[in-house]
């Protein structure tokens, strides 16, 4: 597990696109917008874009965002986004290790709460997060601009 660099972007985008929902949303043929987004992430100390590697190959990724706030006695929370595991690694326990990394990193950053949203259709993912101790306590709303 290490911070992502520009050299990891092709592998990350390939994983984002190799997904029932991501296939319609990503454009792996043009990496320019992804590289620009990586620059913003790297410049922001509250953003952690992480890759998991095995034998030098990128096999997993997630993004962890640290969000200070006033509610819950001035609690800081973290938000997990963009969790992807390479197809060849699914079922290997790598997803669990990625989320456990994110939980440990959140503790180190002083967070009192970790949160994420998962598309209603990803029922396997829902069971996975519940096994890791998360509670499906909220409804996640999105508005496309």
């Amino acid at each position: 597990m290490r911070p992502a660099t520009a050299e990891d972007v092709p592998a990350i985008v390939a994983m984002l696109a190799d997904d029932p929902l991501g296939a319609q949303r990503e454009s792996p043929d043009d990496l320019t917008p992804y590289l620009r987004a990586l620059e913003r992430l790297v410049a922001d100390p509250n953003q952690h874009l992480i890759v998991a590697t095995r034998e030098g190959r990128v096999v997993g990724t997630l993004q962890l965002t640290i969000v200070p706030g006033l509610s819950r006695r001035g609690s800081t929370r973290s938000i997990i986004e963009g969790v992807r595991i390479h197809a060849a690694e699914r079922g290997s326990g790598l997803g669990t290790r990625l989320i456990e990394w994110a939980i440990d990193a959140s503790r180190r950053e002083g967070c009192q709460l970790v949160q994420l949203t998962s598309d209603n259709t990803r029922t396997d993912a829902h069971r996975f997060y519940e096994r890791l101790g998360f509670t499906a306590s909220h409804v996640g709303f999105k508005l496309q601009l």
Copy 2:
């Protein structure tokens, strides 16, 4: 609608605490952790803690976080947290104006997506967000640390 300052913190915390869920989670008698959290928010250009005022009194608040990312072709998204309306203002349309402010601010920041989570028990809030165009497409998971 304007950015919150330290002088607004007592009124913001009073609104956070005047809520079925917030009543158990907030400590309006000691503002120290809230003031410390405000300092972190003000120092971060991707954080916008906003208050709505009427005749000089704070009557509403929300927090908008700008989150760059790789997924969806390097999209930036925004996350709305901590929406609260003073009890005397509920039903006045102020909630709608606060969320519309957040949507407009998200557009100005170049976001392609606005998202938020709402506790499963807040069914009135769910209808409110759907009226404003949001889709309840996700399950929101939380883990207390």
